[in-house]
């Protein structure tokens, strides 16, 4: 019987069997950041342990930093304490650190791939659920808790149990103006926030194959939003050409050897998946969330659902609760709701392709007077490239704030907060209650839809219909 890509990577990393269901897996690369690592280092020290493989580790500062400046005290004393703790731990254990002023600084899931660290066939972990992003390269990548961070620091391994395999096949051509973000939101809407629980999801089909790496990262990034352990896309020529020449990618003879091995990394034709979902790409429309969970999503032109139309009482209750929090009336159209804040950024949508899509919509327009709009590039490199291409000028001329890289308003740990009761269209990945600030109302959407909302000042005019963003 054939094997899935997940099974191949899993088997290649098995170091030992711990019991009937648990294996010790080798971890090729470990990203750490300031928020979920301090207690792991404290634990290591308390137990008298050290870091086994510091150079298979990279530390970065992203969650808690200011995006107004590059100062370690830019986001206040409390965050500075975490940042200096990370500096200290990295010095002590000789872990490479991309510090706040480093020229490659950025969000962990943006800089790993950018530097060529993320490669096909690897196992990659980070104390961060959106580690699933790296699966776009055919790497088995998943988020872990702080106790597990400590485990990986100490042993470069992690106890694991085999997950089930799900295939999400998306064939056909996406309509004009429909982006990777719309694809993954539509998939989550279909599968649900818990539908992926216990699975590793492999995305395939012609719509996925025709995406570039940045778009594939957007898809894999939000795999965690359906509860799946990881998302995977088999590496292909698109992957290889993205990697070639990147600072940490193999070169010379090693490149040829790596390529030969990477080409074996795909699910066999007769591999068995526990679950398969088919989606017709041409049926996908620009999406936007209306509720407080990423599964509460619809096409931008649809009407806000009515709790009464849901079959189970629990569902009715949760839909009603979400609508109340979001301040939306059942049956209304989103285009009737004014927007207060627009955030373009996060590890989901802060790469060059995303900024290009947003800028194409913005070009020549002005941010509506009542809207505060900001663009936060995912990394210093993205920022430089966007400036060189003139995208930053487009945003600034339209009245967007153009920020330094970081997580920013995705989780609002710094001062980039959506005020209570305000409505935000955000290109990030979570519309949970309070995620962007206490009582903040978050609508997740693509960069094109977010940009359109900024200009029109209302939720989701459909860029597909109005002919904007046709790039």
């Amino acid at each position: 019987m054939g094997m899935t890509l997940y099974e191949k990577i899993y088997d290649q990393h098995q170091v030992a069997q711990l019991n009937d269901s648990t294996d010790l897996l080798y971890i090729d690369f470990h990203f750490i950041h300031e928020v979920t690592s301090p207690q792991a280092f404290a634990g290591l020290k308390q137990a008298g342990r050290t870091v086994r493989n510091p150079v298979a580790t990279l530390a970065t500062m992203d969650h808690n930093i200011s995006t107004q400046n590059r100062r370690i005290d830019g986001a206040g004393e409390v965050s500075q304490q975490q940042l200096t703790a990370l500096q200290k731990h990295c010095r002590e254990f000789q872990i490479p650190l991309i510090d706040i002023t480093h020229r490659d600084q950025g969000i962990v899931h943006v800089i790993g791939p950018e530097q060529g660290i993320t490669q096909p066939g690897m196992t990659i972990v980070c104390g961060d659920s959106h580690t699933s992003t790296h699966g776009a390269f055919g790497a088995l990548a998943f988020g872990i808790g702080t106790s597990e961070v400590e485990h990986v620091l100490a042993t470069q391994t992690l106890p694991q149990q085999r997950a089930k395999n799900m295939k999400v096949q998306i064939d056909g051509q996406l309509p004009m103006g429909v982006t990777a973000k719309d694809v993954i939101l539509a998939v989550i809407g279909r599968i649900g926030t818990a539908g992926g629980s216990g699975y590793v999801v492999e995305y395939c089909g012609s719509a996925i194959e025709s995406m570039d790496m940045e778009e594939r990262m957007t898809v894999c990034n939000m795999t965690i939003e359906m509860g799946a352990k990881a998302g995977l896309i088999a590496p292909d020529e698109v992957t290889f050409s993205y990697l070639q020449g990147r600072p940490r990618a193999p070169s010379g003879d090693q490149w040829q050897r790596a390529l030969a091995r990477w080409k074996t990394l795909k699910s066999d034709a007769d591999a068995v998946f526990d679950k398969t979902v088919h989606i017709d790409a041409s049926s996908i429309r620009p999406q936007i969330t209306w509720g407080t969970s990423p599964e509460q999503v619809m096409a931008v032109t649809e009407r806000v659902p009515d709790p009464a139309n849901f079959p189970a009482t629990e569902q009715q209750r949760s839909v009603a609760k979400a609508l109340e929090y979001m301040g939306l009336t059942p049956g209304s159209l989103l285009q009737d709701y004014p927007v207060d804040v627009v955030f373009i950024g996060s590890c989901t949508n802060s790469r060059l392709v995303d900024l290009r899509q947003a800028a194409a919509v913005v070009k020549g327009g002005r941010v509506a007077p009542h809207v505060r709009a900001l663009v936060v590039p995912g990394s210093a490199q993205v920022k430089r490239e966007a400036e060189a291409e003139g995208l930053a000028d487009v945003f600034r001329a339209a009245g967007f704030e153009w920020r330094e890289p970081g997580c920013s308003m995705c989780l609002a740990m710094n001062d980039d907060i959506v005020p209570a009761g305000k409505r935000c269209v955000s290109t990030s990945n979570r519309n949970f209650e309070g995620r962007q600030g206490r009582l903040a109302r978050t609508h997740l959407a693509s960069p094109a839809v977010a940009a359109s909302a900024a200009i029109h000042g209302y939720l989701s005019t459909n860029p597909l219909v109005s002919g904007e963003g046709l790039i």
Partner: protein, 208 residues
């Protein structure tokens, strides 16, 4: 049977909400610390406290009949979202020993096990029954990890599932990293092999 008959005995309250995410369990403004302590007071912060910081009288944990509860009867897909281990830390430091749900998000589940907080998975029907029992008053429950059942005050037993390896980890005092360290030879061998099979994965130096 291990030394004591029950993994835990305590009283339970219900929070019958599906998809409770870790941002609700412990909002991000409490993640700025560098220690593992002090999270109990911030558990469910945005639900538990009003805008002015006063306790929200409508929230279950603030109601007099639910003081001292140690078992949380939750909904479906509990603990989804962020990987923050601060969520089980907050639950445990508040005083919870057991969370009962019809399903758990994977990362949260693992974080619970690593913190000796029992994630007990029950069927949807049983969860409904249990919720009904705990919604009005704190129900006394005995948690039998060996038999994998929750014994209610009337003697009724509700089965829950947990992988045997996870159960062992909850009962065992052994150090989670220590288990892997027993396999250091195998890790060494694996790393040596990789130096020839995938040498490009092994950065010898990595300066930034």
């Amino acid at each position: 049977m291990s030394q004591q008959q029950y993994f835990h005995q305590g009283s339970a309250c219900a929070l019958p909400i599906d998809n409770v995410d870790t941002d609700q369990i412990i909002p991000k403004q409490f993640l700025t610390g560098i220690s593992r302590d002090g999270f109990g007071a911030a558990l469910f912060y945005d639900w538990r406290y009003l805008d002015d910081g006063a306790p929200n009288p409508d929230f279950v944990l603030n109601q007099p009949q639910f003081q001292g509860v140690s078992i949380l009867v939750a909904g479906h897909n509990f603990g989804c979202g962020s990987s923050r281990e601060h969520a089980p830390w907050a639950l445990a430091q508040f005083g919870f020993k057991v969370v009962v749900a019809s399903s758990f998000a994977d990362i949260f589940y693992r974080n619970c096990i690593n913190n000796k907080l029992l994630p007990a998975q029950v069927s949807t029907t049983d969860l409904k029954r249990l919720t009904a029992v705990c919604e009005q008053r704190a129900e006394a429950i005995k948690v039998d990890l060996e038999q994998q059942q929750l014994v209610l005050s009337n003697g009724e037993a509700i089965p829950f599932s947990i992988a045997s390896s996870d159960r062992d980890q909850l009962l065992d005092d052994c150090d989670f990293i220590g288990v892997a360290e027993q396999h250091l030879d195998a890790i060494d061998r694996y790393e040596n092999d990789r130096a020839t099979t995938v040498p490009w994965f092994m950065p010898l130096s990595f300066t930034v």
